[in-house]
């Protein structure tokens, strides 16, 4: 019997910035200064678009001019009724019944999934990070959705990051700024999370504020107790004059279940967003929101 195909998201995947105490503390002084002018009040979110989804086991292309990529190990809340996932072979059916009787604080959460939230290094959090966080393939998605009830106390969970087998980071969810229930409540304060959507709880930094970095050829493994590990390998992107649109790449491209492949993409310089002026706050309020 062949293994079931890996899970892939059906909805929007949201990431959360600065949700670990280590990074929040490192940013505290800088947050008071321009252009930030104060610590964030609402959760700082970003979106990982469909072109970033990479199945567990598949290769992730590094843009041509980027020397390395930052690894962001995260766990995501997967929304929907767990029975919605029943037909999916990537869900462990034996655990189906476990989600009944969940408390209200995580209502609507079907389960949890490991994610490898990659980004090109960027030092400014002022402007939205589309070109740093949304290159093709930049979200490794764990192979299975695990029911919340099978994990038990989320705050007791610790993620580990290994690159080429070497332990590079441990991420204890006990050090979240907003725990899962608080984050979810604060996001639901302004928007709905639809069935199939995923809300990542955040990615932690190392003690010096950096994140583990990976280069072409590196094998990244993200694991946690109760989860099958998420493994992705970084490959050099196919050059601009390489194979035509739709060419297959990576190890897990066999299933049409995943839709089109995530092809490699043209490189972008990993540079900070261009400054767009600092006068917005004093601008006459007749213009759109930049």
């Amino acid at each position: 019997m062949t293994a079931p195909p890996p899970f892939q998201p059906d909805g929007t995947v949201y990431g959360t910035l600065l949700n670990f105490r280590c990074e929040a503390a490192l940013w505290a002084d800088r947050a008071a200064e321009p252009p930030y002018k104060g610590a964030p009040r609402a959760p700082v979110l970003y979106i990982k678009t469909a072109n970033t989804f990479t199945a567990a086991g598949a290769a992730i292309p590094l843009p041509a001019r980027a020397p390395e990529v930052e690894v962001g190990a995260s766990v995501g809340l997967v929304f929907g009724n767990f029975k919605d996932f029943w037909p999916l072979p990537s869900v462990d059916r034996s655990l189906f019944a476990m989600n009944s009787g969940l408390t209200d604080t995580l209502a609507g959460v079907a389960g949890l999934v490991l994610l490898n939230d990659l980004s090109l290094p960027h030092t400014s959090y002022y402007r939205p990070p589309v070109k740093f966080r949304n290159p093709d393939g930049f979200l490794g998605v764990g192979p299975r959705v695990v029911p919340l009830a099978a994990v038990g106390d989320l705050a007791a969970l610790t993620l580990t990051v290994r690159i080429n087998g070497e332990l590079r980071q441990t991420v204890p969810l006990s050090t979240l700024v907003r725990d899962a229930a608080t984050l979810l409540a604060d996001v639901r304060d302004f928007q709905t999370l639809l069935p199939g959507d995923i809300l990542m709880l955040g990615t932690d930094c190392l003690d010096d504020g950096t994140r583990p970095r990976a280069q072409v050829g590196d094998r990244i493994e993200i694991s946690a107790p109760g989860f099958q590990p998420l493994v992705n390998t970084i490959v050099r992107e196919v050059s601009a004059d390489g194979p035509p649109l739709g060419a297959k790449q990576g190890a897990a491209e066999s299933g049409s279940l995943f839709g089109p492949s995530n092809p490699a993409q043209a490189g972008l310089e990993p540079r900070a967003s261009a400054p767009l002026g600092g006068s917005e706050d004093t601008a006459v309020p007749s213009v759109g929101v930049p």
Partner: protein, 257 residues
């Protein structure tokens, strides 16, 4: 041709505009015409396939008059942010103004709907990858603006805050998307006027820019930014965002609760 997606008679239907009515495409009702007032208008977008949620890109500061008014130097690259399908709503819908906020405003924007998988597309070929155009009203609530990944999702991704429609107009019917007048009225008074020729980054440039690093798929959206002239909107206000040849998108502000 102008395409709509509507709820009518207990179901959801694709329809086209025909002589001032909606002509249904649903097999059971094929050819039947219904009035604009007799339906619920949904975003004029087909559902996305499995494992491919819709990418909704949006632009800030993409009109020259903004840059001029704000004394900005024109940005050297698009100021792009992402939204999600959760915030989309249809023509003639309600948008909620939260209690206690001081400044909520519309943004009339030409929305580009991608028609073919687009990856590393050259500017000269970019319009070949467009299925069509519609009107988006990218509401913002300034009270929630913060300087972290600005504009942040609490400002830009709120439920009900992105009306879109009424029509998806075939690209073939809009030969030059950079030659369209835009205007917004609030309760019948014109408050915003602009022209797509004043975009800093035009539609072909935006498609080239995004597709250089992220593949765009059929059904993905690019909201191309808004010109100068936004004003506060109060519960009961009727906002019409209109683009020449594309459509007039009607929305009513309602209070929370």
């Amino acid at each position: 041709m102008k395409h709509a997606r509507i709820a009518w008679a207990g179901g959801i239907h694709d329809a086209i505009e025909a002589d001032g009515q909606l002509e249904l495409l649903t097999p059971a009702f094929k050819g039947r015409r219904v009035g604009f007032d007799d339906v619920i208008w949904l975003p004029p977008l087909a559902p996305m396939p499995a494992h491919r949620p819709r990418t909704v890109l949006a632009l800030g500061l993409n009109y020259a008059d903004h840059a001029k008014e704000l004394a900005f130097k024109a940005p050297d690259e698009p100021l792009a942010f992402l939204k999600s399908a959760a915030s989309l709503t249809g023509h003639r819908g309600f948008t909620v103004r939260p209690a206690g906020v001081a400044f909520m405003h519309y943004e009339c924007e030409l929305a580009v709907v991608i028609g073919r998988e687009a990856r590393r597309v050259a500017k000269a070929d970019a319009l070949d990858f467009v299925a069509g155009y519609t009107v988006a009203n990218d509401y913002a609530i300034r009270d929630y603006l913060e300087n972290w990944y600005r504009p942040n999702l609490k400002v830009k991704n709120r439920d009900t805050c992105t009306p879109i429609g009424p029509w998806l107009v075939d690209a073939a019917d809009i030969p030059d998307p950079m030659a369209l007048a835009l205007r917004t009225t609030v309760n019948g008074t014109v408050t915003q006027q602009g022209h797509t020729r004043d975009m800093i980054f035009d539609v072909p440039t935006l498609i080239e820019y995004f597709s250089a690093f992220m593949t765009l798929y059929p059904g993905d959206l690019i909201l191309t930014g808004t010109p100068d002239g936004v004003v506060d909107c109060r519960p009961g206000d009727v906002i019409v965002t209109e683009i020449e040849g594309v459509g007039a998108l009607v929305n009513t502000i309602t209070a929370q609760g």
